[in-house]
Amino acid sequence: MEVSRFRADTREAVTDNMTTPYKFHGGVHPPANKAQSTRTAIAQMPLPAKLVIPFHQHVGNTAKPLVVAGDHVLKGQLIGLPEDGISSAIHASTSGTITEIGMQVVAHASGLPDLCATLVPDGKDEWIQREGINFRTSLNADVRQVLRLAGVVGLGGGVFPSDMKLRVGKHKVKTLVINGAECEPYITCDDMLMRERAGEIVKGAEIMRWALEADRILIGIEDNKPEAIASMQLAAAASNDDIRVVAVPTIYPGGGAKQLIRVLTGIEVAAGVRSTDKGVQCFNVATAQSIYRAVAFGEPLVSRIVTVTGNVQRAQNLEVLIGTPVSDVVAYAGALPDTDSYIMGGPMMGLPLPNAGVSIVKAANCIIAASPKLFPPAPPAMPCIRCTRCAEVCPAELQPQDLYWFAKSKEFGKAQEYNLFDCIECGACSYVCPSSIPLVQYYRFAKSEIWAREADKTSSDAARERFEFRESRIEREKQEKAEKLAAKEKAAAEAKLQAAKLAAEQAAASPDATMPAISTPAVAPPANDAQAKIQAAIEHAKLQAAAVKPKNTEQLTPQQLAEIADIELRRARIQELAGTDVETKE
């Protein structure tokens, strides 16, 4: 029944072998609103007056800044080096001068500032020298290093470093899934990319298939994008790899990685299991294209396609340099006067921007200018009536009403038991909720609380370990001291005994009056010796202290010299206080 229903859904133009018999649970059909932004070809956004490039645009560690204010940089020059493990590189998006490295508000739900480089373009847009590699004659590790230094991350919105996903793990990846579903309303950047640059996407897919040693490539595209499907089919036909372009039914969130894998291959990726364990790896189409640009031409990720839509005069797709202010982008598209806020991403999963001054980052697939008319404020949340409509649409097959209950009452352990972390925050539950409860907000709250608690637990465990180690160390030191003392006493007692014995023997051997002469050196010298040793040590320490010369003090500013003099004065006073008896002085 299900199979026939979906085949009927699929467009007629798509032949039967390109559809899929599988489906995932739930899903919703929000109004697509995609037509507005697909009327014109991808346009190049003009160079802005100023770029603000954050150093943390990816999952993992913040890139380490390599430039300082005043440096002149070329387009594509590395300005942020990936730091340890999961991280990615950051590049100058155009040639110009770095005017500031500092904290600025970035596109993040918190509205907090993060480390950014401000770049004032010189207008020449001059590329750094760049060179591609032939991946077929290279090692997997080399290709991954190229991608890491080119700053290629997942452009579907996940921004996970692509080089990490191309590692060959212990499970063989059989199927490479290229995600062109683009299920979220309003967003059309992948659609336009597939229409116009299908060849580059297919070449990127070939590189990934080679790196992962996968057998086949499946490209999943929702059937509301017939032009993109046709264009990708043409490009796939020209490839020597086993590539199939599959039209998947249009249903939100069909573009979720787990959902698309389910629809294309029938494989269910269970809770706590990675798709690679099941032999599938999934990449977005724009990621495939940027992987191709990075490997074949040595071009780092300095721009991306952004859909600008919503309350604007000319909704369209623009190729925008990373770091371009959102205000410039919406101004270029002609934002209408009643625009009051901006959303990065789609209306279902996107995040409201703190202000229009933040810059386009690698995750920014879409900017929606919002107005009260376009997105009226949500009606006040009513109590949950347990209608379980949310459970019917949940693509992760969770029980959103229970999760809501647990998150609301802060029963985080229970929420985790009900697989809160399988929630992909797609917002389908909130979309259908008749009580307009902001369910996803509750899940996000619960998730970040759980993460914070786990971090607290780790640090408190570390503190406990350090405390216990310190206790045991102090105990051990005490014991060692006692043992040493006991050994010393024992040795002294023995020496005394020995001396007495010797004296007795000698006295017995020769009854002359030599006894005091022998016993004196046995007892008295240690005391004298110790005194002399202490004295010698004090002298030595004094000499050493006098010999110490301060280092790195050749080029001090007068202010620093004054500070040092001040400290020396204070130190002298403290030493003086320590020398005298404080209580008698008072």
């Binding site: 918190s110 907090l112 993060d114 949340a381 509750y442 996000r444 640090s459 503190a463 350090r466 405390f467």
Partner: protein
């Protein structure tokens, strides 16, 4: 009659032997309750509970000698967890216990430090690096914010700095809705 008695006493002897063996075989070392309480405590080792560390306080709670509301760094949530674990009533902070403070770490003003090592000796988690007559510094990652190093410093160069909210430690807030007044 006799056989019944024999069977019953036989069973009693057998079960007694099994229980006796189990008591030896599955003997629990230490008091598991102390471990459970210690796991709830925040491990700041600050001594604000008047016990020399979290473990001694946990032992005192388990022995019924201490109240559960003596740990300011654990906050009210910590009291709630202890109350749940021990099956007792929640008790708010009160009496001579300090009020909970925002989480902070110690900071040494390196220009003022004279290198006396007094703070190093006071730190319960070895989070201060330094040596005699050398400048000291806090390893902030390991600092529990217990404030035990502040008092011994002879030159008052240690201050407590509240950990500020950054993107890396930012948390999603509990959804709240502002009530908007409606004109009548």
């Amino acid at each position: 009659m006799l056989s019944a008695l024999l069977i019953m006493s036989g069973i009693a002897v057998l079960l007694g032997a099994v229980l006796g063996y189990a008591a030896i075989r599955f003997r629990v070392e230490g008091n598991p309750l102390v471990e459970k309480i210690d796991a709830i405590l925040p491990q700041t080792q600050c001594g604000q509970c008047n016990y020399p560390g979290c473990k001694p306080y946990a032992t005192a709670i388990a022995a019924g000698e201490a109240d559960i509301n003596r740990c300011p760094p654990g906050g009210e949530e910590g009291i709630q967890k202890l109350a749940d674990l021990l099956g007792v009533e929640f008790k708010p902070f009160g009496g001579d216990t300090n009020a909970p403070k925002p989480k902070s770490v110690a900071f040494i003003d390196e220009n003022t430090c004279i290198g006396c090592t007094l703070c190093i000796q006071a730190c319960p988690v070895d989070a201060i690096a330094g040596a005699a007559k050398q400048m000291h510094t806090i390893i902030s990652r390991e600092c529990t914010g217990c404030e035990l190093c502040v008092a011994p410093c002879p030159v008052d160069c240690i201050s407590m700095q509240v950990i500020e909210e950054k993107i890396s430690n930012w948390k999603w807030k509990y959804p709240v809705f502002a009530l908007t007044p409606v004109k009548q």
